[in-house]
């Protein structure tokens, strides 16, 4: 009995150890001080220090995580001009976006989790900056709402 319990315990511990290693591969790439600095220099002026936005400036706080529910949503956060045309390189932009998601998205993040941005993904997406931003944003959010309303298969 004890042998069986030991075995199960060891398997459980091993399982726990595998998941964090997989997720941390990208998380470890976020340099907190650098990401904060880039947020301050290139985002905070409009989105405000705590990401709550102001008036016509959308809130990141407790909201930006909704966009991680669809591919179009993920693309939106990179293709908005503030991201796509910033002077940050692909790695830095991926880092500050991942930092913002961890710092601000809060309850809006998908319950099933999400994959952090990579420099390669950002590089492809930012090549097509958005022009009709408000309309595109509304369409992306509508798709996310519709997707949530679909019954689980």
């Amino acid at each position: 009995m004890i042998t069986l319990a030991l075995r199960q315990c060891a398997i459980a511990l091993l399982s726990l150890s595998v998941v964090p290693l997989a997720l941390s591969a990208s998380a470890a790439e976020v340099n907190e001080a650098r990401a904060l600095y880039h947020y301050q220099m290139f985002c905070q002026g409009c989105h405000t220090p705590d990401g709550s936005g102001n008036g016509d400036i959308p809130a990141l706080k407790d909201f930006m995580g909704h966009f991680m529910n669809t591919d179009q949503g993920r693309a939106f956060l990179v293709r908005v001009p503030g991201s796509a045309t910033s002077k940050l390189d692909d790695q830095e932009l991926a880092e500050v976006l991942n930092w913002c998601l961890a710092e601000f998205a809060g309850v809006s993040l998908p319950v099933q989790g999400y994959a952090p941005y990579s420099a390669a993904e950002v590089s492809v997406l930012r090549a097509e900056p958005l022009e009709e931003i408000e309309q595109h944003r509304a369409a992306v959010l509508l798709d996310i709402v519709k997707q949530r309303q679909q019954p689980a298969l």
């Binding site: 941390s24 220090p49 008036g55």
Partner: protein, 175 residues
Amino acid sequence: MMSFLDRLFEQKARGVAQSSSRRGMLKKLGGALAGVAAVPLLPVARADHHGGPAPAKPQEQGSDTDCDYWRYCAIDGFLCSCCGGSANSCPPGTEMSPVTWIGTCHNPADGRNYVISYNDCCGKSSCGACLCQRDEGDRPPYRPDKTNDINWCLGTASATYHCSAAVVVGVAFAE
């Protein structure tokens, strides 16, 4: 009682010894420890300290009513410190714009670079005192987040510009 416990533990110990190896246990234990070590690296929410640790307080040198005061390296406007406010605050009767343009300035007193937020104070006509234009890092309006040539009274009840404050946001990251 003791002999019963002795027998029980002997049986279980023999059972474990027959069905496992020391090397296997070490391997599993190592995997578990690696997992525990990785947990702090998870991308967990850190919403309880927005903006990171409190910014280091800069050493001060010079007067905030002088245009050559270190924080004003990128300013373009009337100094709020000459208009009834300070480098950090707006004069009475005006509202600080939450939308700002942000740059960095070198503080000669402590040798560090700081992130500075240039917040316009809005709601009254132009102050007219201590006009200061230094423009370090200023960019043309096609980079709107890095230009001081526009009225930054955005998100305020009134868009009427009065003066500019220069608030220290934090220490610049050394790239």
